[in-house]
Symmetry: C2
Subunit: 323 residues, 2 copies
Amino acid sequence: MTFSEFNLIERFFVRDNPQRKDVVLGIGDDCAILNVPEGQSLAVSMDTLVEGVHFLHDTAAADVAAKAMAVNLSDLAAAGAEPAWVTLSLSIPKIDMGWLQAFSDSFHELLNHYGLQVVGGDTTKGPLSITLQVHGFVPASVALKRSGAKAGDIVCVTGPLGDACLGLKVAQHKLAANGDVRDYLLNQYYRPKARVAAGIALRSRASAAIDISDGLVADLGHICKASDVGAVIYTEQIPISESAKQVTSAERVMDCALTGGDDYELCFTVPEDDLRKVQAALETVGVACYEVGRITGKKGVRVIQDGEELELNKAGFDHFAAA
Amino acid sequence: MTFSEFNLIERFFVRDNPQRKDVVLGIGDDCAILNVPEGQSLAVSMDTLVEGVHFLHDTAAADVAAKAMAVNLSDLAAAGAEPAWVTLSLSIPKIDMGWLQAFSDSFHELLNHYGLQVVGGDTTKGPLSITLQVHGFVPASVALKRSGAKAGDIVCVTGPLGDACLGLKVAQHKLAANGDVRDYLLNQYYRPKARVAAGIALRSRASAAIDISDGLVADLGHICKASDVGAVIYTEQIPISESAKQVTSAERVMDCALTGGDDYELCFTVPEDDLRKVQAALETVGVACYEVGRITGKKGVRVIQDGEELELNKAGFDHFAAA
């Protein structure tokens, strides 16, 4: 069986998932023909995951699918958009039916969960990599952006940070963990959750938002750059899971929380007066809201621990050696 | 310089090309936010080109960009859609500034030509491959589809077939060619033109349409399958360029025209009574219309030469050995 003889997208990615009414023409023609509902803008994001770069070699097919989907849906979440359609370009070294079945089963589980439909794609022979484009809806006037944060705004995150980074170290045998702690951390790394409902709840409420893929400091830095402001973070306020606390030193956990990435929680800013309303809105979708810092007029992201500023070096954050 | 330190998409693919008014938020945030005009549906297509599979090793960067764009725009053309936005995932083995400059220069030339805007993308380290998703507009009621051909309809193509296949053989040194003939054939292979204006002209006029990427017989076969009909093609009516006629035997040229692929002309069907109107509509956009066959009730695509049916074998088409 060769790639050209066999349409893998049709074979594995067209199933009897619920058909969306806004899909006029799906997979199988030259183009998909799609209707964006009146009053909504289209939010799109494309991300590629490459084996050995974005996920470990020999990651289970089901986990690769879940990760690819989460990474992309997290971008929709950060824009406050509601997921609708997905296109998929899959590069695989060989046609391994077992792998494809496990990958597509996991993929379809998430399609069903988010009410998404696959509307197009391509498969090619090559090193394992997955490119997804997700498409969602949001009225342009209430879409969340990186710009818009103002000095004085509160900086919040939607969940504990650092777990995925610790989970990666566990998967790489660089950190020992057992039982529930091990399971929890690996799950946070392999199966991150995109904060889709939280993003929708934050529409027109958050002054700026981003998803945490590169670590809190880097991603809050993107908000600051786009908003032309700075920020200060207080390490004592950063939510840390019980599993993280048990598995290694507080210093190592904090380093993961600040610079680790892969958490896919949302980081957002909100005017102080609106904080209670935002917390209530997130509560209705079952998502926590942790205050971790403040937007400032002074540029850059500063990290404060025990009243002292930490400095970033190659190994992570260290206590700042005052001049 | 590493991939993470440097946003190649922003560096090379955001330029002062005209900004489209329907782009609310472009590259640089978590999602692009886009407006589909009222009364229009969204047409999307995603294709991946891999070095060594879809284009030759050491193909010039400018040609890779042109080919990736043409292949994708050709899908929009086959749907009768007007190009609007593009997203790009580029996998490259190393950061070669000269290659990236040449690739993106060529890419931007085509963006300008088609009035397209890059609205998102990703770059990763890996074997050279390019995934594009193109987005266009077409009212759903007039979009061209593969289904809709009816017995008795005329089968037409928009230009000479087989040139790209011959051009590939020239590029591979499997076929000798010189001077203008060589230049023409190589250009047809490396720089196919997407029949965007023709597709728009065929809206609500053609009963079915497809772009010829796999060769006339295979692609007309897709129309027949989707429309639940068959077709007959007359080789004498297939348009062949003067360069093709000069470079090799008529038999070899016809084999390329029937099964070669990469031509990216449109193949479409039209009720006999509408043929003159369709020819006139294509004439206004400077595109020819060649009648090459007929849709039939009998399934399958049959090829007739000198009144006899040709049979496809591994080497191409041969005269049918009647039982």
